[in-house]
């Protein structure tokens, strides 16, 4: 079953220097699965993720021949309908929890705010639900974390709180933009396994945006490789090592490996036609 279908998505910015196309004709569809979008900085992967929620500010413009989420046409939805979708049915986790949590509000207050205002829950019920969400992301001592301010949390803890917050309304689609890049490798593994469990248990769709090809290959079901606003290759994650496109191959080869040779790492010779 298709949850999200995007056809020929374009994001353009009209700047003083002229027109910049950040995303140029990206198409994909997503079921209840884990889709990875990989690319280097400037490849348009973040813009693609944000377009789904229509979170591109002017002068940026979103155009597509089709962008449908579970029967709702995202291109024609009013701002009011979009607000109802955002957070409730499509949630987003950003790279750095530092910038996504309100620094002067306790974690507990931020977690329960939506529940109490939107769903009209009592303080008690909202609190219980928030604690439950924190437990779902394997936070030990959720009562203590509820009383903490964001700056008192470590990076990994902050990111888990962010994920918990996004999961409270039980969304159908989670867009995670580099959710683990700011985290240590050992913490990274934990956060990924939490995300993995949620996709499996709740049947959620996940768009996982990352620059780390190996991570995406290990974690996702399907991978889109983006270069300069275009998808250059789409493949099953398990076949990532057999990628054919020279760009994907180049990205794989330029990484150093433990126990590899000391010879200079192969560079990435960008051919002009990849961007065509």
């Amino acid at each position: 079953m298709t949850l999200l279908s995007v056809k020929d998505l374009r994001v353009t910015f009209d700047t003083e220097a002229g027109r910049v196309e950040a995303v140029r004709g990206v198409s994909f569809s997503l079921g209840r699965e884990r889709l990875g979008i990989v690319g280097e900085s400037g490849s348009g992967k973040t813009m693609t993720g944000r377009s789904v929620l229509r979170l591109i500010r002017p002068p940026g413009r979103i155009e597509a021949t089709e962008m449908v989420f579970d029967g709702t046409d995202l291109l024609r939805a009013s701002e009011r309908e979009m607000r109802a979708l955002r957070g409730q049915r499509i949630a987003m986790v950003m790279q750095d929890p530092k910038y996504s949590l309100n620094p002067v509000m306790k974690v507990g207050a931020q977690l329960t705010e939506g529940l109490r205002q939107r769903d009209g829950m009592s303080a008690r019920a909202a609190r219980l639900k928030a604690i439950e969400a924190l437990e779902a992301v394997q936070i030990r001592g959720p009562e203590r974390v509820m009383e903490a301010y964001p700056h008192e949390l470590s990076g990994g803890m902050g990111q888990r709180v962010m994920i918990a917050m996004m999961l409270i309304p039980n969304p159908d689609l989670l867009i995670a933009d580099e959710p683990t890049s700011a985290l240590d490798v050992t913490v990274q593994a934990e956060v990924l396994s939490i995300l993995d469990g949620l996709v499996r248990d709740r049947g959620m769709g996940l768009i996982f945006i990352s620059h780390d090809l190996r991570l995406v290959g290990r974690f996702c079901d399907r991978v889109l490789v983006m270069y300069k606003g275009r998808v250059v290759e789409e493949l099953e994650a398990k076949n990532l090592m057999q990628a054919e496109h020279p760009y994907t191959r180049g990205l794989l080869n330029c990484l150093p490996r433990i126990g590899g040779s000391r010879a200079p790492l192969p560079g990435l010779d960008r051919a002009a036609e990849w961007a065509e």
């Binding site: 620059h211 991570l215 590899g260 000391r262 560079g267």
Partner: protein, 252 residues
Amino acid sequence: MALIEVENLSVQYGTKGQLVRAVEGVSLRVDARESYGLVGESGSGKSTILRAICGLAPVTAGQIRIGGQPVPTPRGRAFSRRVQMVFQDPYASLHPRHTLDRTLSEPLAIHGIGGSDARVVKALEDVGLPANFRFRYPHQLSGGQRQRVAIARALMLEPEILLLDEPTSALDASVQAETLNLLNRLREERGLTFLMVSHDLAVIDHMCDRVLVMQHGRAVEELTRDQLAGAKMTTDYARTLFDASADRMLEA
């Protein structure tokens, strides 16, 4: 005799009334022309060791010797001609209002070295940047280009020791490869000694002869390159770190 000797180094400082023990009793020795790595997760104190060597973090106990001589406090100009540092974030380590020319000629001006015109052009060429970039501002460059400038700046005074604080962690994979290659080439050409910090075991393995694994401000285990590649670590923590980096192994 080792070129860099750090003995029982401790760094403590107080923030908001709390005493932070960033580094506790760490010792290490780096030979001349060696490349030595420090690996650990955030808060392990690996970057603090570099900052302590440079005098950017307070040394509360222990000793740092360069070439057998204890380093003076403040470090002074003679020190800056022997030891230089490359920072992690190329977006924060270049002055946003100075052109590359100003950034690169500043160390020459401080030390009263003449012929800065020719030296700046040479320095740009050495790190693989075109000479016509000279009067650009940092915001006109990409992250990789900025890091090249930062490396060029660190080499302006022709130091023997380069301290590298996660020099590629903010860069894309292909740019990381180019930067690592550049660093290795410069080390070869100039006989530099590297002390490099990274959280990425694969980068450390590619760059360093020996590596010190750190956790919570303490040294856990020192490994040679062969021990690392052969997974011959003896401590649990080093093992955990190695297992978490399993996808960075060379495929068998």
